[in-house]
Amino acid sequence: MSVAPDKKHDAMVLKIFEYRDALLAYAFTILRDWQLAEDALQETVLVVLNRDAEAEPVRDLFAWVRRVLRNKCMETIRSRTRETTNEQERLQALVTEACDAYLDEDSAAGLKKMKQALRHCMGKLRSGSLDLLVGFYYRMQSCKHLAEQQGRSVNAVKLALSRTRDRLRVCVQRQLPLLDAET
């Protein structure tokens, strides 16, 4: 996809917003921190806005945005003071390579639809199940921690998570064709 110079800022920003979820998932997979991932995406937006209006048009806009985001993630990792081993650096490179391989415009569109379906399905969950998902996936709390917090056994928490995932999986499978039909 090639973009005319006078429209390219708008097109790039729109592209980022359109595929924000997929780009954020990409950054999150590399950084494993919600806030750092958000920050990396914000900085990517700034790079796009700062880009010289007279620069060469970008041929593959999505790939270009992804590359900028990848560089921002790498900068973030490098800025951490913690020392890394060779093995960790190797793993980081492989993770980034895997993310690059499976994030294109099509998969981003699929992820966007998946999120829409998931939002519908999670909206039907009881607040306790939602709390469990937030604790486990968003706050990255372990099952042990959640079990202590809720006064339940670790197995009970694992079981509850597993069931919630099952329910969501079934619900999303039902919801996706409906979304397809709507579009």
């Binding site: 806005l49 190797r90 895997a98 999120k115 999670m122 998902l133 996936y137 968003y138 619900c171």
Partner: protein, 560 residues
Amino acid sequence: MNEELFEKYMRDELSGAETAELARLLEEESTGKERFVAFAQQWHLFGDVAHQLQAASVAPAPETARRVRRFPAPAPSVWRRGLSWRLPALAAVVLIGLGVLITLQWDRLALPGGDLYGIATLVSASGSVGVQRAGAHRPAIEGQALARGDVVRTGSEDAATVIRYADGSVLELAQQSAVVLENGGDARSKSVTLQTGSLLADVAPQQAGLPMTLGTPHARIVVRGTSFRVWVDSATTRIWMFEGVVDVVNRTDGSGVPIAAGQVAAVGRRTDVTGRPPDDASGEPAGRARNGLIALYTFIERDGAIVRDVSGTGSPLNLRIEDVRAVDRLAHGGLRLREPTVVASDAPAEKIFRACRQRNELTVEAWIKPAVRSQTGPARIVSMSESRQARNFTLGQDNFIGRTVEDPGEPGLFSMRLRTTETDLNGMPTLQSRLGPAKLRLTHLVFTRDARGEATIYVDGKPLRRGAFPGVFADWDDGYRLMLGRELDGAWPWLGEYYLVAVYSRALSPEEISANLRAGIPKHHAKRVRPTARQTSLLHAPHSPAPLAVSSLRFSFSEF
């Protein structure tokens, strides 16, 4: 194993060896990368969406708000260049949009008392449901915001009418009911009055010191988070608790009493609390065997996603319909599974596990009407299982095995799988009723297994198949849920109608099975589905079980 590695990566908890192992997986295994990326994307989606939904329903705490943005504000020049013309334009578009929306959707948005979005939403309404606001009565609209002071009324033919609060609390109004969303009190607390009719309340945990109050002409019910049903008639209010505890205050004498799960309170001039629901509330036909009864479902609910365990034994093991759009609540009771879905307990069926494993006996009974003769898998009618390959027991409908691979066999038989120390984890080999009795009519189906291992499948009181499940129940799994309709993993759906399902922790005798057959289906179902002439003749015939040969178990080739 790989998922453990992926999870540890996401949590940044990999050891040196695990780091090397994950690197090897991503480098060498062709599907490793794909699975890893899918796992990480799912993690992100789950966390992101769950957090957004939670944040939308709860006002952000100051600490949370601080966490949202750590990124330093961008240089003014950058934002001026990029957004200087966009912001006013965006604001104008938003204002115009709001104007159009308010004009078109005033009924949904404009609420008295400054409640722009209301205190609750009418998420489901049909037929003649109406909302009375400021003296004016209008037909209800699905998705309509409700404000304090609104009165919601349902008609005689209305299906489930559901009111949902932002915290997930749900009120499901039955037919011919009227509920008022009360004014007054603390703006953060919920206060409703059921003037007449019945409602099912599924209330999320409320803030400390701010309980929900449900009033009726006879009682005030203080709710901190639980599930119960309330009926109001001219003389009494009845409350049937499914979970947790509520405090019930009698308006006549001012006395208060806590009502716990499984209890029923009748509040009139005085308050009576009983251990099990009254017959007209439970729908249990008179004259049925009760000794050893662990779970009983009479499908009396006319709406909602819950099927209540009305056995009165231990904590109720209620079932939840996964997809209410796939089922019909029949006009006089009963549940029709029109499309594949599962009706399953939220928690493991511990009381069934404990009682049956202790006695090594079991009876599973169902009054059903199959929708299709040729259902296979076996199609799950009643199951206590984990997946298509692991179960404690499953009562199902199946086909005869054909003589060749191409031959689908003869449709229509009932089958039982039961895990013992002599059968596999899938409860196989399967015991099948060979006479092809699955007909598309009301059917009384019973499976019994006694402590000696003798097993029988009865259809309409007649013992059609006798076999043996040797061994004991020592291998039963305490983590399996009770379910109707299909497996949790989506496998082998059964389609048809349920009128009664019961599980006993002992083998009912032939006489008791005849008594249950004689008792029939819950009386309100009988208005719609009448026993056949054959069932009627059986009801009145003296019990004389035909002698049966005890056969070896027949192996079913259904693998799942």
